[in-house]
Structures are given as structure tokens and as C-alpha cells.
């Protein structure tokens, strides 16, 4: 495994964290629709998403395209984990099996 794969993994981690910031914002009450979007959580969240796309582009210099979506799918496990840590969303047996099926399906799709 070369460092480009680590870079791609880093991009996935950044993107998964951006979802946490967006959800943080979604849990709050706002006085207007504008504030639902124009607040630090959402702005930094989408900033991180842009950063993640840049990291992805650099990572693809050393990663075959066909492997991209497979590594990207690690994001499903990460989001499940962060949702438990930050929002107390339970990791049930069903959720684990469901997400493992999703990963397996994506892997087979790009086989």
C-alpha cells in the first residue's frame, strides 16, 4: 500500500467528519431558514467537503480509479461510528450487517 492510498483514506475521513458538522447544525433550532445554512457548522462542513475532493484528486495520482469507490465505502462504517460517538445513535446488529452488505455490494460491483 502506498501513501496515495493513505491520502485517499484521509479524504474519506475528512468527508465523514463533514457529515457530523452538518448533522450538528441540523439538530439546532434556527430563527430563520437562512440561519439553517449560513452558520459555522454548515459552512465549515462544506469547506471540509471541498478539502476532501481536493485530497481525492491528489490521491488518484497514485490510486487506480477502480479502487476509489471501494475505499470510499469505508465512509459508511466511519459515519456509523461517529454517529454513535457524537449523537448516541445506537449501532445495532441490523445496522452492522446492513452496512457490511453495502460494502460487500460495492466491492462486487467494481470487481
Amino acid at each position: 500500500m502506498n501513501e496515495y492510498y493513505l491520502l485517499l483514506l484521509g479524504s474519506v475521513i475528512v468527508a465523514s467528519f463533514s457529515q457530523i458538522l452538518l448533522k450538528k447544525s441540523a439538530l439546532k433550532e434556527y430563527s430563520s431558514v437562512w440561519r439553517e445554512y449560513l452558520n459555522p457548522w454548515v459552512i465549515i462542513g462544506y469547506g471540509m467537503m471541498v478539502l476532501s475532493t481536493l485530497l481525492t484528486v491528489f490521491a488518484y495520482r497514485g490510486v487506480d480509479y477502480k479502487n476509489g469507490p471501494v475505499i470510499d465505502s469505508v465512509g459508511f462504517l466511519l459515519v456509523m461510528l461517529w454517529s454513535r460517538l457524537f449523537f448516541g445513535e445506537k449501532i445495532t446488529k441490523r445496522k452492522v450487517i446492513g452496512n457490511l452488505l453495502i460494502l460487500t455490494g460495492i466491492f462486487i460491483y467494481y470487481l
Partner: protein, 131 residues
């Protein structure tokens, strides 16, 4: 009449305990994900033209516009769903992309594509029927 009241109360508590996700809300979430995959269609459209040609600018602009709409709608979705559930539903983008690949670009699909999509679908259904 009395038994009717009991029944009603039973259903209310049943609903509160189970908190199942309705099919309607899943369909709305999937529509948002369909919009997301259309940004990829616009990107593929842009890829066919020379950079900074009018057609390129049109399709690339379309891609950005679709992503903007998606971002606004996604925020509304995660207000209503657990993040872990909403995000797992995004995996169905693989199905919608496959549909667009056939409809718009007449790409050939493989057995592995179909098999993969079916397994992803099964996984998403499992997550959505979680209690």
C-alpha cells in the same frame, strides 16, 4: 367503544416505542439521492466537451447547480433522519447511477454490477428497517 379506545392507546404507544421509518420518508430521501446522482450525469456530460467551451461550461454549471440543490435538501433530510440511517441510504446512488448509465450513456452493464446493486439494496433495506 371502550375497546376501541384501548386499541387506539395501544397503537400510539406502539408507534412511540418502535419509531419505524415510514416508506414515504424513505422515498423522499431516495429522491434527494437521485438528484445527487444527476450531478454525476452532468459531470459526464461536461467530460465530452473541450474545457471552457460553451457546452462544457453549461454542463459543469449544471453539475454545480444540482449539487447546490442537493446540499440544501440533504440538510433537511438529516434533520429528520438519524445520520447513520440517512448516510447508509446514500449507498443507493450506485443503483441510480447504473440506471443513468444505461438510459443516458447506453453503457453496458455486467453481472457483477447487477449483483452488487442487489446486495447494496439488501443492506440498505436492513438499515432502514432497524428499530
Amino acid at each position: 367503544m371502550h375497546s376501541g379506545q384501548v386499541k387506539k392507546r395501544y397503537w400510539r404507544s406502539y408507534k412511540m416505542e418502535k419509531k419505524r421509518i415510514s416508506l414515504k420518508s424513505i422515498i423522499i430521501l431516495q429522491l434527494v439521492i437521485v438528484i445527487y446522482t444527476l450531478s454525476g450525469v452532468a459531470a459526464k456530460g461536461a467530460a465530452g466537451y473541450e474545457m471552457f467551451s460553451w457546452q462544457f461550461i453549461f454542463f459543469y454549471g449544471l453539475e454545480m447547480a444540482i449539487l447546490g440543490v442537493y446540499a440544501i435538501l440533504w440538510q433537511q433530510m438529516i434533520k429528520r433522519f438519524d445520520l447513520s440511517v440517512a448516510y447508509a441510504n446514500r449507498s443507493m446512488a450506485i443503483l441510480w447511477s447504473l440506471v443513468w448509465a444505461v438510459v443516458f450513456f447506453h453503457e453496458r452493464i455486467t453481472i457483477n454490477n447487477v449483483l452488487g446493486v442487489l446486495i447494496v439494496l439488501a443492506g440498505t433495506v436492513l438499515v432502514n428497517t432497524d428499530e
